[in-house]
């Protein structure tokens, strides 16, 4: 074995997930018929519950276009795509010397953009939907009491 090129490019979680999907990992409920190894299924299981599972090519392109003005390193963009931080405190460890480089207002703007462009991971309800559910629950309870 000869290593020709140890680093021939980074992949986002989304790209690896798309690759495993194209091999048929998502279409085979039995997990025996598709030509996907058990170890690949483990990676698939990890990625499918991560932020990558709802992302699309368009949303990633849009994110890359819109974050150009923030002057982020490639690794930082990659990490934001993989984690999808939804608050300032979550983005803080990803970006090196966040406050010094950008200032708190710009960071807030960036987080807003991330929330807008990248879809939330599965199992995490969008904040407005959760609020709606709360509103719905209250009249129900009142009805129960009057009944």
């Amino acid at each position: 074995m000869k290593i020709q090129e140890p680093n021939a490019g980074a992949l986002t979680n989304f790209e690896v997930l798309e690759f495993l999907r194209s091999k048929g990992a998502s279409k085979d409920p039995t997990r025996v018929i598709a030509p996907v190894a058990p170890s690949e299924f483990k990676v698939y299981d990890y990625l499918v519950q991560s932020a990558a599972s709802n992302q699309t090519k368009q949303s990633i392109h849009e994110f890359l276009n819109r974050c150009e003005k923030y002057d982020l390193a490639k690794a930082e963009k990659l990490n934001i795509l993989n984690i999808r931080p939804s608050s300032v405190v979550e983005i803080d460890p990803i970006i090196e010397e966040c406050e010094k480089r950008m200032g708190s207002e710009v960071v807030e703007e960036l987080v807003e953009m991330v929330i807008q462009v990248l879809p939330p991971p599965p199992g995490q309800v969008k904040p407005d939907e959760a609020a709606d559910e709360d509103n719905e629950e209250i009249p129900d309870q009142e009805q129960m009491e009057t009944n």
Binding site: K2, A10, S50, A75, P93
Partner: protein, 193 residues
């Protein structure tokens, strides 16, 4: 956390695979060779991405199989130092935490990289278990296995295979990631949301 690597390998194709198309046969052989294995300094191989070229097909004297030189790309799991990853708690003891990504388990968070000050307290749910608890402004934040844990990659080590291993020693791991929780925004997700 995933990278592509270009590898060249000289491969002996056993004759029972002659009935298959060449590309398929070689891919199958490569999968048995590389999948779910750690290549030192390259990381854990997740998948064969594509095959770039297949050369040769030479049959050595006295060998009943053809030998090919294949150039192919692998998807490697190799986080970079400083990357933020999300994992689940696997176990905790006096030395720190052990985290798991589901497909990779050898992630350790030693005591000095836990949020400061952290204390080791007995686990109320498990009689023999222990649990690390971060104390912040007189409030207790326990690290339990309930939600996912964000950590920063502190270092990646590829220990060499030991010549002699003690009977009681834990199983040999070819790739060990040391993680850190000692920063704002790291630790269980529920701490910060």
């Amino acid at each position: 956390m995933f990278f592509l690597s270009v590898i060249e390998h000289t491969l002996r194709l056993p004759p029972h695979l002659l009935s298959l198309p060449l590309k398929e046969a070689i891919k199958g052989e490569l999968e048995t060779l590389f999948l779910d294995k750690v290549i030192s300094s390259l990381g854990l191989c997740v998948s064969i991405y594509d095959i770039r070229s297949i050369d040769g097909g030479f049959i050595f004297a006295g060998d009943g199989a053809s030998t090919y030189t294949v150039v192919f790309r692998l998807i490697m799991f190799r986080p970079f130092v400083g990357e933020i990853l999300v994992g689940k708690l696997k176990s905790s003891d006096a030395n720190g935490l052990r985290l798991s990504l589901g497909f990779f388990d050898d992630i350790y968070v030693p005591v000095h990289l836990l949020p400061n000050p952290s204390h080791l307290l007995p686990d109320p749910d498990n009689k023999h278990g222990v649990r690390w608890t971060w104390e912040f402004q007189e409030e207790q934040f326990p690290i339990d296995g309930k939600d996912e844990i964000r950590f920063r990659v502190h270092s990646i080590n590829y220990p060499s295979i030991p010549v002699e291993q003690e009977k009681e020693a834990k199983p040999f791991a070819p790739m060990v990631i040391t993680g850190s929780l000692d920063y704002d925004g790291l630790g269980p997700i529920s701490w910060w949301v």
